[in-house]
């Protein structure tokens, strides 16, 4: 780290990249929350998740960054776009936002923000005494197949069950009124 900091340029580039990634995720999150057009919200969510993937790169894990892009952007956001396409909420008229609800939502958000900030900045975080240096993907796969294998299998089962459940829930749509 000292050699990196003695040279100005790589450090500066890293800082600019970090600022870019943080700006991307916040702009994306704001676009995901505030506009009323729901397709814009999904596009904002895609921007935000791309920024978060960049943050994971800065936290030292390219594997998790790629998984974030693959699972969130590639699967979840695209299936949201499909849900919008299948349910077509874009043609419906939007009722106006009630000011009371906006004020209440912002108040709850501000309360949570202050509470979490107090929690995080008043806690003294101490690193563990001995810290491993193994960041390899091979080690990750080793853990997934040995120590965390049960959790891994249970999550695969959960995904299977949720996909079957999704098929059953949407498959009964046409039949309900004729019962």
């Amino acid at each position: 780290m000292n050699t990196l900091q003695s040279l100005v340029h790589p450090h500066l580039i890293a800082q600019i990249g970090f600022a870019f990634v943080v700006t991307l995720s916040f702009a994306g999150a704001l676009i995901a929350v505030l506009p009323r057009n729901i397709l814009h919200n999904v596009l904002g969510l895609i921007l935000c998740l791309t920024g978060v993937a960049g943050l994971f790169l800065y936290l030292g894990s390219p594997f998790i960054a790629l998984m974030e892009l693959l699972i969130y952007v590639g699967a979840i956001c695209i299936s949201m776009v499909f849900a919008i396409m299948l349910s077509r909420p874009l043609h419906l008229s939007l009722p106006a936002r009630r000011p009371r609800k906006v004020v209440l939502a912002l108040a709850v958000g501000a309360g949570v923000f202050i509470m979490l900030n107090a929690l995080v900045f008043r806690t003294g975080w101490h690193p563990a005494a001995t810290r491993g240096a193994d960041w390899s993907i091979a080690g990750l796969g080793g853990y997934l197949l040995t120590r965390y294998e049960l959790v891994f299998e249970v999550i695969s089962l959960l995904l299977l069950v949720s996909i079957l459940g999704a098929i059953i829930i949407t498959g009964h749509i046409g039949r309900r009124p004729n019962e």
Binding site: V22, A29, L30, A32, V33, I38, V42, L45, C48, V52, L55, F56, L59, G60, I64, M67, I71, Y72, I76, S79, M80, A83, I84, L86, S87, P89, P95, K101, A105, V108, G109, A110, V112, L116, V120, P127, A128, T130, G132, A133, W135, L140, Y143, L144, Y148, V151, F152, I155, L158, L159, V161, S162, I163, G165, A166, I169, T170, H172, I173, R176
Partner: protein, 102 residues
């Protein structure tokens, strides 16, 4: 940029935006987007603690992968429910969906 608090603050901001989305929006997809933002804040927290504090830097990554899998399952179920609700009530506004069994 290279400190634990920076990442925790980013995660707090994302979590707050997610909470605001869940309380503010009336469309179900908007609320789902808020939930995804909150799960991402949790992921950033896991990765930051993993990077700066944890004894073994692989375990936080494994938990992040688990959270992503659960988020995918949750999104699949939620989107199918949204499609079913739309076909029943012709709206994805939560305030229109008032009946349990019509």
């Amino acid at each position: 940029m290279n400190s634990l608090y920076t990442y925790l603050f980013i995660a707090i901001l994302l979590f707050t935006l997610g909470i605001v989305a869940v309380f503010l929006r009336r469309s179900l997809i908007g609320m789902l987007i808020g939930i995804e933002l909150m799960l991402n804040a949790a992921n950033i927290n896991f990765m930051a603690f993993n990077r700066y504090l944890a004894p073994d830097p692989l375990i936080g990554q494994i938990y992040t992968v688990f959270i992503m899998g659960i988020a995918a399952a949750e999104a699949a179920i939620a989107l199918s429910i949204i499609i079913a609700v739309f076909h029943k009530f012709h709206s994805i506004d939560v305030e229109q969906a008032r009946e349990l069994r019509g």
